[in-house]
């Protein structure tokens, strides 16, 4: 039950966020899927006792890889899918929590939370960059001349 709730919730949350970011309509479903991939892998790794930072890197890496595939398939820039995919992983809640503690004069807790938020966003960036590097190494070799046919239809 726990997993099913998280699966559905992460799908809807990512797809809804894609609407907030004005993603093209035909990509909403894929945006939801990449959100599910990221969040489920993150939860799975956490439940296996991994650190949050490592889980985030691994999850974003896979989100990035999925984004590369979607981008090839649907001829859209990768950013559309990766942005939607990392939304559940982004430490927005932590950043907010840290700021709240600062404003409430609980500096020790606030600095801890802020450091954690910074590390997590750094690891998201690392995961995305890793997947991009991999994509460039593997995919760039194929010549890309498919778009011409699509234009004529």
């Amino acid at each position: 039950m726990y997993w099913i709730i998280h699966l559905i919730a992460s799908f809807i949350a990512s797809a809804a966020f894609a609407i907030l970011f004005n993603a093209p309509k035909r990509t909403l479903l894929q945006c939801g899927v990449s959100g599910v991939i990221g969040w489920m892998i993150y939860l799975l790794l956490l439940s296996m006792g991994m650190e949050a930072v490592f889980s985030t890197v691994a999850a974003t890496f896979l989100v990035g890889v999925a984004g590369q595939f979607f981008a090839r398939w649907y001829k859209e820039p990768v950013i559309i899918f990766s942005v939607a995919g990392i939304i559940p992983l982004v430490p927005g809640g932590l950043a907010y929590d840290a700021m709240r503690r600062f404003v409430e004069n609980e500096y020790n807790l606030a600095v801890q939370l802020a450091a954690q938020a910074f590390l997590l966003s750094g690891s998201i960036a690392i995961g995305l960059v890793l997947s991009e590097v991999l994509g460039q190494l593997l995919i760039r070799r194929k010549p890309l001349r498919i778009q011409v046919n699509r234009q004529q239809q």
Partner: protein, 252 residues
Amino acid sequence: MNDEAALQVQEPVQVCLLAGKIMLQSGAETYRVEDTMTRMADALGLHGADSFVTPTGILFQSGEADSAKLIRIVARTTDLQKVSAVNNVSRKLGNGEMTSEEAYAELLEIERVKPAYPMSMQIAAAAISSGCFTLMFRGSLADFLPGIVCGGLGFAAFLLLHRLVKVKFFAEFIASLLIGLLAVLLVELHIGRMLDKVIIGSVMPLVPGLLITNAVRDLMAGHLVSGLSRGAEAFLTAFAIGAGVAVVFTLL
């Protein structure tokens, strides 16, 4: 003759600048903007073009002999549709399927187009995602409904205020204040159970998570100025939201 030659250079430069401006205003990463502009310049025959992009402005020079052009960026949102559309234009230019005039006309059209989703749909999306985030942050099922209500109303308030007052910081502050008040009210009425989860879920549509991540990515890609200024923007937004909610907690 001289004027004509100047006009011929002018047009490709305008195309590149407009493309960069639209992309930057729509929340594309700095390196992607620079990359797209350089590629378009290459396709338009401006070899050796150089650009310097920061979140608040673009400097673009088409060649050694020409003067540099500047475009100021005032407002930034996230609009992936426009990023995708500009990307398409750039690719067509690169494949030689489009002339510079056609590209310019299409870019003007892209800039003019309104968001694909009406405001009511955006608010609904914010509401639903807030509800889902309360669940994902381990809130109980009872917190789903308060999350939807607070998130939707908070985001609606943010959009409305941002239209009235152009200061984004202020709109975020008031919106999160409202979210806090509403969440406390709903929990007092026993409609929601965990106050913290409801508030965190509901502020998620406002929170600058994407900005933070983009800032770190820009820093890693070597765009130090852009990374730091995006980080500052993210910090201010997070501060506004945190302060708004904290005011509620200190009042009670």
